[in-house]
Symmetry: C2
Subunit: 360 residues, 2 copies
Amino acid sequence: MKLHIAVLPGDGIGPEVIAQAVKTLKAIATEYNHVFTFEYGLVGAAAIKKTGSALPEETLELCKKADTVLFGAIGSPQYDKDPDAKIRPEQGLLGLRKALDLHTNIRPIIAYEDLSNKSPLRKKWIKDVNLCFYRELTGGIYFGEKTWSNDGNTASDTCTYTRNQIERVAHSAFKAAKSRRNKLTLVDKANVLASSKLWRKVVMEMALQYPEVDVNYLYVDQAAMQLIINPKQFDIILIENMFGDIISEEASVIVGSIGLLASASLGDKYSMFEPIHGAYFKATDKGIANPIAAILSAAMLLEHFDLHEEAALTRRAVDKSLQLHITTPDLNTKYDNISTSKVGDFIEDFISNPEETNLN
Amino acid sequence: MKLHIAVLPGDGIGPEVIAQAVKTLKAIATEYNHVFTFEYGLVGAAAIKKTGSALPEETLELCKKADTVLFGAIGSPQYDKDPDAKIRPEQGLLGLRKALDLHTNIRPIIAYEDLSNKSPLRKKWIKDVNLCFYRELTGGIYFGEKTWSNDGNTASDTCTYTRNQIERVAHSAFKAAKSRRNKLTLVDKANVLASSKLWRKVVMEMALQYPEVDVNYLYVDQAAMQLIINPKQFDIILIENMFGDIISEEASVIVGSIGLLASASLGDKYSMFEPIHGAYFKATDKGIANPIAAILSAAMLLEHFDLHEEAALTRRAVDKSLQLHITTPDLNTKYDNISTSKVGDFIEDFISNPEETNLN
Ligand SMILES: CC(C)[C@H](C(=O)O)[C@@H](O)C(=O)O
Ligand SMILES: CC(C)[C@H](C(=O)O)[C@@H](O)C(=O)O
């Protein structure tokens, strides 16, 4: 298969972890005789520095003409301390999601047996957790109107949803539930918010079309608690944009490190794959950034193009690295000097030679 | 001291747990020669059933003429399944908060040594956690404009904050930090939302007036994760209304049960005390509802009126009940038939006779 992949490493640890994902994809291409080509673009603070925009026109064009996009991370402490900044790294990511109409963000949360003592949660609580978020990604309060009073003393944001926006992500979520354990939980705040009432109404109607799926409704505050006290109750969690941001990042504690969580952002025409962690500036260029989230995002990319064997091999490589403690310090309980690129090298070696790779 | 207390038991388990809080306050009054009088009012689904309104005029009048308000819980499954309902139990609670201008909601999170194996979190993770939320309670998206398109297919909510709304809760939070460990964390989404940018801007300015307080800024998605992976880093968490709802309920996992969390809602003129748990309909009238959150809310009420010795005795009674496993099933690892009112009876006995009370 030929795939032309737009690569947007972005800020902070983005470039380091994306380098390992590209390494992985190259190894897969070699093993399976695919032709993967990579074309790099600027985004986020890195792009602002060079072009004045967090999402330069060329980057957007590059993504549109590519078959898919591999994304690192954006953000910078400089902007975190400056709430007045008009141009911000986040505009790169939000702008891409909007421009490519990536409405459905899929975030799987799978507890790894080998890592369970890295999770703050007791082992028996998290064993066998396997849930998946379907987060709406182009609507809601992130994309609503923002207003400021003239004196700068009043600010507001608007959260809007339309039936159509809800239906498209919900259909994907229902279908995913059918292919899994037939359980879907809608997380909203329908006891207070109009937009959440619309979500609940639409999903209640749609549930009739998917009679085999057991549908539950949970308020977001209760979901934040239930996710920790009883994560095994969940299969598919359908959730609007901002609630999905919050609750899915919370879910990283189940797995033991946010450095393990991958995501796929899908639209009708375009797709993008990115780790859910951020730019994590403090760790930049120290060789301590966990590349697994980026590598698993590459595995999701492979699956998206029906390269299932390739994706499975990538996942086996990741499992093996965890088993053998070839992991960065956030996860490692055995060795303390395994770097980002060393993890990538191990994955690459394993893919080239699955039977023989071991720690040396 | 004379205190006239408006009591609003509300829905679900509200009446049962509030009965134990009233029992506690009566025992305190007897011991310390105070005159506490109680006047009951309707609120929530119970009020809708009898009057058609979730917050009848008489209830509001009762609260306004009382010295303070003790509140149970509101909500009912009937409304959860009906997103179209125009009159809803939540309007009772939100209406009261607004009408009494209860802008500052204080939610302490203290890990109890005795209960740490009831928390899903490993012991060493939660030992010594002692943090406190200052949640803004009358602004933000809960109280913003709600609109529906004519065809019912588009809905929106607006989140607005003014400098003044932020300053009043923030001043209380800064003062609380000064009386504690001098640490304050603002939780917001200032990398995306205008209202959050205003929060960050105002708090950054105010921080200059409190140079002894170490101020940190955290995005809400990261806070949802940090709260679990490193809860000891927090002292005071300052947070807007909806984020506070989500993150403070999440924090209940640290303590081991939401049935332990109390809160105070304070305005310039009025005050209200309520457990943070909801109506928990499924448990209604089974005698299994944990009354401790309601009883600790009564302790916060006592503290609010500077009855510190009384509050301390109430807390000692609660500690003792936990030590002796006189707790409802959500917490009990030893006995399985201790009911809501039995816990209340123990607290009452202990207050009357602190030296002699034991399980019998
Ligand atoms: C950077 C930010 C805008 C983004 C979001 O909140 O969507 C990030 O947190 C994420 O979850 O992908
Ligand atoms: C019932 C609901 C409106 C309320 C809220 O979200 O504020 C509750 O969850 C709370 O936290 O007190």
